[in-house]
Each structure stands twice: as structure tokens, then as C-alpha cells.
């Protein structure tokens, strides 16, 4: 047999290759020069030197055509004239931003200014895409911005620190504490004889039982149209009414706010880090969580919770169940605009309920004309079908819900500067100056977030006092504003769109409807709200901890769901806690304590810098 056949030659080549790889591990490691460190001391930002910026950022909804940034967008032109810069934006749709940004970088094209999450930022550092920005420089050129970060979320700084060197500027949106307000079907409550919103766990249970048994949807329909129907038709409405549940939920985004008011009633939040007498503690394994889960299980068994709550998505199936009259209660709202009578959600609820009533009337034999006239004189029914829930009181008197708060509107986002700025470091200083100036120039800030008065928005009187309202009818969130470089919704655009700088408290008060301020005061009192110690940014924790946290959160989600659904009996709670800690809970706790210490240290470092430049402010 010939010795040198194709097979033997290929195997030989492969072996040689492996030998070479293993033999010379450090073949050419020395001659790679480290990333040059910028010597910030002699970098000057000369205002009349024109600078050009390449930027990439997640647009609001790049998918619809009218959201693409126009060449001469109002806010863009304003910023360019004001700061003698040219801004070339590359907008990427938010859903695929992370993946696409990674691939764009992988292909070697680096933007001057990028928006990066912690995990992306860390890998960018490893590949040398972004340059370090010492805290001193930030505090020197943007002291008031730095102070706002300290005030609202000083835990943000640590997220962009890699091996002691800082690479990013935390993004802040105004008052970042979003409440998880609930709403009830007002007509259902009325149909079962409740004229006010239930305010305690016992009342919740009573209402849910009535929802379950007494066909509230059919009854509320009969209350409105009963007198027009004969007995037999009325019976038909009752018999044919679909089964009803109290509420649904979405386990996948449990962390973002499912059942938070139920857990809050037991003074605990399952996915929050809290300070318990000086020590960091994880909510998921607290005694309060056990009680809440036990209660939720009894509700599930009683049929109050829709079985789909395991796989539904909050913005999708959960919401459409509420619209379709399948569920009667939902606690997931966080914006004033979402519950405002003229808001699109409430209007949609009315429209859909009207359609359903119309279909039912037609099916009961009414003619089109009759149905429409009946609906007409009952139009008051569809104005506002929701009434905001209070934060219910628990058996031991606690109230609370999770404040979905985060540093930076992009849940842990940071401005970072690509290595392209190495030749012109003054770009960084120019950008910091822009942020600082906009922060303190109210008129400029309003113009680049809400737009020009009487052009993009105007003052209008409403029963709650003067309100800045967009040109289109109230609350429509059209993407045409994006094309002008402005935030897509006037209603909660409390930060610049092209340059993410937050509005200070007094600006928000002056420019936003009093109802909104009142709403926020009513639902975010500190004693009710239980804000996570790390905001939503524990993914900024050191790498091995954050992947472990992700996995343990999934584990906790599955276990808590099994408890609620009944696959796991509540008596198993103790070995669930033991298992949780053994599998990762303890390791995470140690990691987070260490991380918390680092956060405090970094915050102090920034504090010291601010104080240095405080009295020397520009």
C-alpha cells in the first residue's frame, strides 16, 4: 500500500500545525504596543475650531420610514450652529442595536461617539475600540452633569470602570423612578357592586372572586343595554359570555414589574437588592416573597390568574387580554400619559370595547341602525373604562410596588468615545461642553427635546392647567418628530434626543402638565416605592457575577412560577432557598457586596473631583 496516500499527508499536515500552535504560545506577543493613553493635560477645546462627529445611537423606531433623521433636522441644525460642529448620526433600530453595533465594530468602522451597555463596553475595551475618560476630565468639563448623576444614580459610575480606568459617561434620564401603577375595569367593578377601587389584599381577593363568578363583562353590558333587551336575549348574553380571569402577567419580564404590588404588600420585591440594616439583601429569598407566592398560588388555583401568564408578553398578549375583556386588572403602567383620559391606551380601550358591544348587539339581532343609536346614547360608557388602582395594603399593613428606575434611559447605557478621537481628543471635551451647556441652558434643552415653541408644540389650556401639547392631537406618538431630531413622544421626553441630557426638576415642573407631577408624587412616595439598590444595572457587576445573576434570575423565575402554578408545593420553599443559595445565591451575594463597595468608592472618587472643580467652576 503506498505509504504517502492522501489520508496520511493530510493527517501529517494537521499534526504539524498543532505542534506549531502549542510550541510557540507567545510567538509575537511582545511587539504589540498598548493603546496610547491620551495626555489630557495639554488638550484644549478651541470653540471656533470646527469639529466633525460620527455618531451611532439606537433611534426610537427607525423601522417606520418617517422616523429617519432628516438632513436638516431642526435639533441637529440647532446643535451644529450652537457648538460649531457637524453631527453625522447613524440611527439603528433599538431591537437589533446591540448585535448590529457589534458587527459594525467587528468590520473595523469605529464611530466617535457611541452608546454602549456595560457588557458591550467591556468587550469594546478588550478590542481597543474605545478610549479611557478619566473622572477628572468629566468633572472638570461637565460638573453639573456629574452632580446630577451623583444625585440620581451614583451606582452608574462603576458600570463603565474596567480595571480601575473609566471608559464612559453614564446616561441619565430625569427623575428615573417609574412606578408600577395598576388599573381596574371601572365598569366591571361597578357591575359587581364596588364603587371604589379595592385597597387591601382582602378586598382584592373579594373582587377577584366576584370577577370569577358573576360574569362582570356580561353584567356591565346588561347594565348599559339591558333595558333594550328582552329576558331571553339577556339570558343569552349571560350564557354566552366568555370565561373571565382577574389578571394575566409575563414571567419572562417578571423582573420589570409583574405582581410587584402583591409582593410589595408583604414588604419585599423578588428581584431587588435592598439594604437591610446596613447589609445588602436579595428580595427573592425573603420570607415576604414566600407569603406573596403562597397567596398568588391560592389565587391561581381559584382561577384568578390566566394560565397564559407563563409565556405572555406584557406589551402583547397581556395588554390585548385586557382590551378583549378577558382580564379585569393589570399593574404595569409607569407613565402618566398612559393613563391620561386622552391618552391612546384609554382611547383604544374605549374603541375596542365599543366594537365588541356592537358585535354582541348585532348577534343579539339588533339591526345596524338600532345598534349604532344604542351605542350613541351610551357613548359616555366608553370615555374612560379604567380607574387607577391604589397600591394595596398587605395583611401586616405594608404597601409597596417596584420602582422601575434605572441610570440612563437606555437601562444602563453610557456614552463612550471611539479610538478615532485619539488624533483629536478635543472632540471629547467639545462633547462634554455640549452636555454641560445644554444641561444649564433651559431654552436650548427644551428646543432639542420638545422642539420649537408654536412650531413643534404649543401651550394649550386643559382642565389641569396649561399643558405643552404637540401639533397633532393629544398623545399621538408620531415618528415625524424623530425626523426633526426630537423625542418621539412629547409626553415623556424628559431628556434631549440627539444629546441625551436630562431635564432638571424645575424644568420638568414648568413644562410638563401638573397632572403628571401630581401622578408621580402620588405613586412614588419613598415609603411605598422600593427601588433596587443597583437600579437595573446589576448586569454591570463583574463579568462572572453578571452571567451568574442572569442564570439565577432565570432559575428564580422558573421556581417562583412553579410555586404559583402548583407544580412545586409551598412547603418546598426552604429547600428552594437553600438550593438557590447553593447554586449561586451565596456567590452572587459576596460578589455584589464587593461590587457595592466599589460603587461607593467610585462615587467618592467622583465626589472628590466634583468638589475640586466646584469652586473653580467655569
Amino acid at each position: 500500500m503506498r505509504l504517502i496516500t492522501y489520508k496520511t499527508t493530510t493527517i501529517a499536515i494537521v499534526l504539524i500545525l498543532f505542534w506549531v500552535i502549542l510550541k510557540f504560545p507567545t510567538w509575537n506577543k511582545e511587539n504589540i504596543e498598548p493603546v496610547q493613553i491620551i495626555d489630557w493635560s495639554n488638550v484644549k477645546d478651541d470653540p471656533n475650531e470646527h469639529l466633525e462627529f460620527e455618531l451611532i445611537m439606537p433611534g426610537d423606531a427607525v423601522d417606520s420610514p418617517d422616523a429617519l433623521l432628516n438632513e436638516d433636522a431642526y435639533a441637529k441644525r440647532l446643535l451644529e450652529e450652537h457648538f460649531n460642529v457637524t453631527l453625522n448620526y447613524k440611527m439603528v433600530d433599538p431591537a437589533t442595536y446591540e448585535r448590529k453595533a457589534a458587527l459594525v465594530k467587528a468590520s473595523g468602522f469605529i464611530h466617535d461617539v457611541l452608546i454602549e451597555e456595560t457588557s458591550m463596553l467591556k468587550s469594546s475595551v478588550k478590542h481597543g475600540f474605545i478610549v479611557p475618560i478619566p473622572f477628572e476630565v468629566i468633572c472638570k468639563y461637565a460638573p453639573s452633569y456629574a452632580r446630577i448623576v451623583q444625585e440620581w444614580g451614583n451606582y452608574g459610575w462603576q458600570g463603565s470602570v474596567v480595571d480601575g480606568v473609566n471608559y464612559g459617561i453614564p446616561l441619565i434620564i430625569a427623575d428615573a423612578r417609574y412606578p408600577k401603577v395598576g388599573i381596574w375595569r371601572k365598569d366591571w367593578l361597578h357591575a359587581i357592586g364596588f364603587d371604589r377601587v379595592p385597597d387591601s389584599m382582602e378586598e382584592y381577593e373579594k373582587v377577584f372572586k366576584l370577577f370569577k363568578t358573576s360574569k362582570p363583562d356580561a353584567k356591565s353590558f346588561l347594565l348599559a343595554f339591558g333595558h333594550e333587551l328582552d329576558a331571553e336575549q339577556q339570558q343569552k348574553v349571560l350564557d354566552e359570555s366568555n370565561p373571565v380571569w382577574a389578571m394575566s402577567g409575563d414571567v419572562i419580564n417578571w423582573r420589570a414589574g409583574m405582581f410587584t404590588e402583591i409582593f410589595g404588600a408583604f414588604n419585599v420585591q423578588p428581584f431587588n437588592w435592598v439594604l437591610r440594616d446596613g447589609e445588602i439583601a436579595w428580595g427573592g429569598t425573603q420570607e415576604g416573597s414566600r407569603k406573596a407566592v403562597e397567596l398568588l398560588h391560592s389565587w391561581y388555583k381559584a382561577g384568578f390568574i390566566h394560565p397564559d401568564f407563563v409565556t405572555d408578553e406584557w406589551m402583547g398578549e397581556v395588554l390585548s387580554k385586557l382590551y378583549a375583556g378577558v382580564t379585569g386588572y393589570l399593574a404595569h403602567w409607569s407613565l402618566y400619559s398612559e393613563l391620561h383620559p386622552q391618552g391612546e391606551r384609554v382611547q383604544t380601550m374605549g374603541r375596542l370595547q365599543r366594537n365588541r358591544d356592537r358585535e354582541l348587539l348585532l348577534r343579539l339581532g339588533k339591526s345596524k341602525l338600532e345598534a349604532d343609536s344604542l351605542l350613541e346614547n351610551q357613548s359616555q360608557r366608553y370615555v374612560n373604562l379604567w380607574s387607577p388602582a391604589t397600591v394595596p395594603r398587605g395583611p401586616d399593613g405594608y404597601r409597596g410596588h417596584r420602582l422601575y428606575g434605572a441610570v440612563g434611559g437606555f437601562s444602563g447605557g453610557y456614552y463612550a468615545f471611539g479610538n478615532t478621537v485619539i488624533e483629536k481628543p478635543q472632540k471629547v471635551l467639545r462633547w462634554l461642553r455640549m452636555m454641560e451647556t445644554i444641561m444649564n441652558d433651559e431654552n436650548l434643552l427644551i428646543n432639542i427635546s420638545m422642539g420649537k415653541e408654536n412650531l413643534h408644540w404649543e401651550w394649550r389650556d386643559s382642565e389641569l392647567g396649561p399643558e405643552p401639547v404637540g401639533k397633532e392631537p393629544f398623545g399621538t406618538m408620531s415618528y415625524k418628530r424623530n425626523a426633526e431630531g426630537l423625542g418621539w413622544s412629547l409626553w415623556h421626553q424628559e431628556y434631549g434626543y440627539l444629546v441625551q441630557v436630562p431635564m432638571k426638576e424645575f424644568i420638568v415642573k414648568r413644562y410638563f402638565p401638573p397632572g403628571k407631577i401630581e401622578f408621580r408624587k402620588r405613586f412614588t412616595p419613598s415609603e411605598w416605592g422600593d427601588e433596587c439598590l443597583f437600579g437595573d444595572t446589576e448586569s454591570n457587576a463583574p463579568n462572572h457575577i453578571s452571567s451568574l445573576i442572569k442564570r439565577m434570575n432565570l432559575y428564580q423565575q422558573t421556581k417562583l412560577t412553579e410555586f404559583i402554578v402548583g407544580d412545586l408545593d409551598i412547603s418546598e420553599w426552604d429547600n428552594y432557598v437553600r438550593e438557590y443559595n447553593m447554586l449561586g445565591g451565596d456567590e452572587i451575594l459576596i460578589g455584589m457586596q464587593q461590587y457595592y463597595k466599589e460603587i461607593l468608592e467610585t462615587a467618592d472618587r467622583v465626589n472628590s473631583n466634583i468638589s475640586i472643580f466646584e469652586h473653580k467652576s467655569l
Partner: protein, 287 residues
């Protein structure tokens, strides 16, 4: 009449029943989707099992068609199939012909050279960087280059060429035909069945490919229909529709998108049936 044993008749009844149920399961998901996409808001989120739409409501389709990228996606997909499939079938045959001829020098290593590409792949990063250096990123040519000569298809065509009687080749040689002439005038026309089958495989491959669009295309106007569907349905991007079709249940939007993507394939279905039912001889792939 020869009396069949009871068990064999029972077997017939059970067998037919079983297969009918199976074909119902093959058909029902698409029916369910159609029904869901047509049912009005109220019924869509009721869930449950239905065979006919309780009400006829096209808002879901209206919503999906309002998305600009649906039409560009459809155009991209159709162009991709019309251009890539014929070229890839030709190149597959061209690659298979020398491999099927015994007198090709180094025939065996060349075959291993082709076969190896089926097993070992460099992985996404090197391919991505290669496309970047060549300038194929965000460029529709990628759709042509992807799956141009799949080793599996080459093997199928090579086997078919080898089943063509050697006398054909010899006769043509005697008449003085060149290898190119033999390939074009004799081997290609003779192997129409296998080429049609490969064309069918490639059409399905190119129509259903969504991953390359997702990875290599950055501008949305170049994404194929599957990419569009994937983003709408899997990555929950239907929320982008909130400004016009607020309150439209996600199920009916997803279902409508699926039906729109499914319809073009149903046109191709009868052709697929004709070619595939002739059957492809896969047994005994060895040369």
C-alpha cells in the same frame, strides 16, 4: 374474492385513520394561522381551537402591509430566487461533471476537497471579515454567493451523471465533440430530472434563508422576506405598529405576517410535488 385476513383489513382501517390524522396535523397549523389572522380583535386573544374565522376582519393584514419593508423584503426574496437558483444549479452541475469522469486527474482528492467543505466551516467571524474585505457586507451579492455549490447537491448530480451510460460519452467523443460540448449538449439535457430536483432544493434554501440577511445586512431595505418575518414575529417587533394599530392583538399580526410569507410558497408547491414525487435515488451514494 380472496378473503383478506381480519387483521389485515383492520390494519388498513387503522392505517388510513392514522395517516389522515397525521395529514390533518400537517394542515391545521396553517389553517389556525389563517383563521387567527382573519378574526377580529376580540376573538383573536380568546385563544382556543377554531376551524373557521368567527368574523372577517382584515385590519391585521392592513397593519402588516403598512410596514414598508414587507414589499422590499418580498422583492428581495423573489429576486434572490430568480437569480441565485439558476446560477447555482449550473455551477453545481459544472462542479459535478469533472468529478463524475473517471479520467479526471486527481479525481479522488478533488472530491474530498469538495466534500470537506460540507463538514468543516470556518465559523461566522472569519466569513464575516472575508465578506467585509471583499465588500460583500450589506450587498445583495451575498445572496448569490451563499449556498452556490452545496457539496450535498454536487454529490447528487455526480451520482446521476455516473448513471448515464458510458456509451453516450464515447459516442460523442467519436463524433469529435469537446468535453464542453458533451457537458452542455448531452449531459445537461439528459439530467433534467436531477437538475430540477436540485433547483427545487435551492429554491427552498434561498426562499427560507433568513440568517444571512440578519447577519450580513445592516440596511433594512436589503433584508429578505424571511428576515422581515423573523423580526416581526420572533423578535417581537410588531410593537413598532403601535401608533396606527394600537390594541391590535399580537396574535393576529403575527398570524397575518406568517400567511403573507406562506402564500408565495404555495404557488411553488405544485411544481415541487411533480418533481419530488418522481423521487430522488439517494441509496448507494458511493461512486
Amino acid at each position: 374474492m380472496i378473503k383478506e385476513s381480519f387483521s389485515s383489513r383492520l390494519f388498513d382501517v387503522v392505517n388510513i385513520l392514522l395517516l389522515l390524522i397525521l395529514s390533518f396535523t400537517m394542515f391545521y397549523p396553517f389553517l389556525y394561522c389563517l383563521v387567527l389572522s382573519l378574526s377580529s380583535e376580540a376573538y383573536a386573544s380568546q385563544g382556543g381551537f377554531f376551524l373557521y374565522p368567527r368574523s372577517f376582519d382584515l385590519t391585521a393584514y392592513e397593519a402588516v402591509f403598512s410596514k414598508p419593508h414587507l414589499l422590499t423584503g418580498l422583492m428581495n426574496s423573489i429576486l434572490r430566487v430568480l437569480i441565485s437558483v439558476p446560477i447555482s444549479v449550473f455551477f453545481t452541475a459544472l462542479c459535478a461533471y469533472p468529478l463524475s469522469r473517471n479520467e479526471t486527474p486527481y479525481r479522488r482528492p478533488l472530491f474530498l476537497f469538495v466534500l470537506f467543505t460540507m463538514l468543516f466551516s470556518g465559523g461566522m467571524v472569519p466569513i464575516y471579515l472575508l465578506y467585509h474585505n471583499i465588500g460583500l457586507l450589506d450587498n445583495r451579492l451575498v445572496y448569490l454567493v451563499q449556498g452556490l455549490m452545496l457539496a450535498f447537491n454536487v454529490i447528487l448530480v455526480r451520482n446521476y451523471f455516473q448513471n448515464i451510460p458510458e456509451s453516450m460519452h464515447q459516442a460523442a467523443m467519436i463524433d469529435g465533440a469537446s468535453e464542453w460540448y458533451i457537458f452542455f449538449r448531452i449531459y445537461l439535457p439528459l439530467s433534467r430530472p436531477i437538475l430540477a430536483t436540485i433547483a427545487m432544493f435551492q429554491t427552498i434554501f434561498h426562499w427560507n434563508a433568513w440568517f444571512d440577511a440578519m447577519i450580513y445586512m445592516t440596511s433594512d431595505t436589503k433584508v429578505v422576506l424571511q428576515g422581515f418575518l423573523q423580526r416581526i414575529v420572533i423578535q417581537q417587533e410588531w410593537q413598532q405598529l403601535r401608533d396606527i394599530y394600537v390594541g391590535l392583538p399580537p396574535e393576529s399580526i403575527k398570524a397575518a405576517t406568517v400567511i403573507i410569507t406562506v402564500v408565495p410558497i404555495l404557488f411553488v408547491f405544485p411544481f415541487v410535488l411533480r418533481h419530488f414525487s418522481k423521487g430522488i435515488m439517494l441509496g448507494g451514494l458511493k461512486e
